[in-house]
């Protein structure tokens, strides 16, 4: 499948460093040569801790290839801001979905799945499934 039809992935964290690092981790684990449009949207616009609606909108627009955009978030206000933007109707690409998934594990699952050319539903399902992996 061509690069143009890949599902885009946005990683929203309260911290710019966390969002950027998780994006790097997910891209690295997706394997060599696999291309997935991934954009971090971490922290506030002035570099502080928090959530920025503007950064989220810009990140979603930057990864949109017409195959949908999966948004993964960390804590409280990140979740609420994405939900509020989705409710606005015109702030995010048409086929954007907030994915219910653990942030780090979900991001890796989403990027690896998207790299195979899977559609948005499959990407979201793979990310959500990361919740079922127990560590003890």
């Amino acid at each position: 499948m061509s690069e143009e039809k890949r599902v885009g992935i946005v990683l929203v964290s309260h911290s710019a460093a966390v969002a950027a690092s998780v994006a790097e981790l997910a891209r690295g684990l997706a394997g060599a040569g696999a291309f997935v449009p991934v954009a971090p949207a971490g922290g506030t616009e002035d570099g502080g801790l928090g959530t920025s609606a503007e950064l989220i909108s810009a990140a979603a627009a930057s990864v949109d290839r017409g195959a949908g955009v999966a948004v993964l978030t960390d804590l409280g206000s990140a979740v609420l801001t994405v939900k509020a933007l989705l409710a606005e109707g015109d702030e995010l690409p048409a086929d954007t979905r907030l994915v219910d998934a653990p942030f780090v594990e979900g991001a890796v699952a989403a990027v690896v799945t998207a790299s195979t050319g899977a559609d948005l539903t499959a990407v979201a399902a793979a990310a959500s499934e990361a919740y079922t992996y127990r560590k003890e």
Binding site: G50, T51, A53, E88
Partner: protein
């Protein structure tokens, strides 16, 4: 009847009140939150006052929708999408009428509060802004003054509660004994509404 100017003055009065009380809101947010509620809301409502001055929407609904939009994009914490949703949903419920009655405002505000409860998943008693907003909307059917009193009482009544939503919920029992900053700022919003109505009455 309440026109767009009334709603603009309500938002401006809220911005002034949040500016006055920003320090107190942040103090309340220190023991149980991340100590940014005052500065976050101050930034948000300053932006609201600025955009309303620049764009001057001409219906009550448009004033609140624009204000809500501004809060979502500028606050940076959970109070942004929550207050943004409250105002925007209230504004949408008011539709495009040039003037609205107090009863219409009450119904619209109830729709806004319901939207906040859906977005945040909070119910009364969870130690959130909902604890001030729900009694305020119930009392608004009686009068603006009753709504203000109910909101303030609701905010005070959060002190002995244990937080069940947001960052404060991680503190468990340690959240008890502190008035909720979100309920406190919600009471400021309702107090500003009552003040605006008082001014209106005095002008007539």
């Amino acid at each position: 009847m309440l026109d767009a100017d009334f709603f603009r003055r309500w938002m401006t009065a809220t911005a002034a009140s949040v500016e006055r009380e920003a320090e107190r809101l942040t103090e309340l947010d220190s023991p149980i939150g991340d100590a940014d509620h005052g500065s976050n809301l101050h930034r948000g409502f300053t932006a609201v006052a600025a955009v309303l001055e620049k764009e001057a929407p001409d219906t009550p609904g448009a004033v609140l929708v624009l204000a809500g939009r501004q809060l979502i994009s500028t606050v940076g914490g959970a109070s942004g999408p929550l207050y943004g949703t409250l105002l925007r949903r209230t504004g949408k419920a008011l539709g495009d009428a040039a003037e609205v009655s107090e009863a219409q405002l009450t119904d619209a505000l109830r729709a806004g509060v319901d939207a906040v409860m859906t977005l945040g998943g909070a119910a009364p008693g969870d130690k959130t802004m909902v604890d001030a907003l729900v009694p305020a909307v119930d009392a608004l059917a009686e009068s603006f003054a009753a709504a203000r009193a109910a909101a303030e009482e609701g905010a005070s009544a959060t002190t002995p509660l244990q937080a069940r939503k947001g960052r404060a919920s991680y503190l468990g029992e340690r959240s008890i004994g502190h008035q909720d900053p979100g309920a406190t700022s919600a009471a400021l919003l309702i107090a500003a509404l009552a003040t605006t109505a008082d001014t209106e009455a005095a002008d007539v």
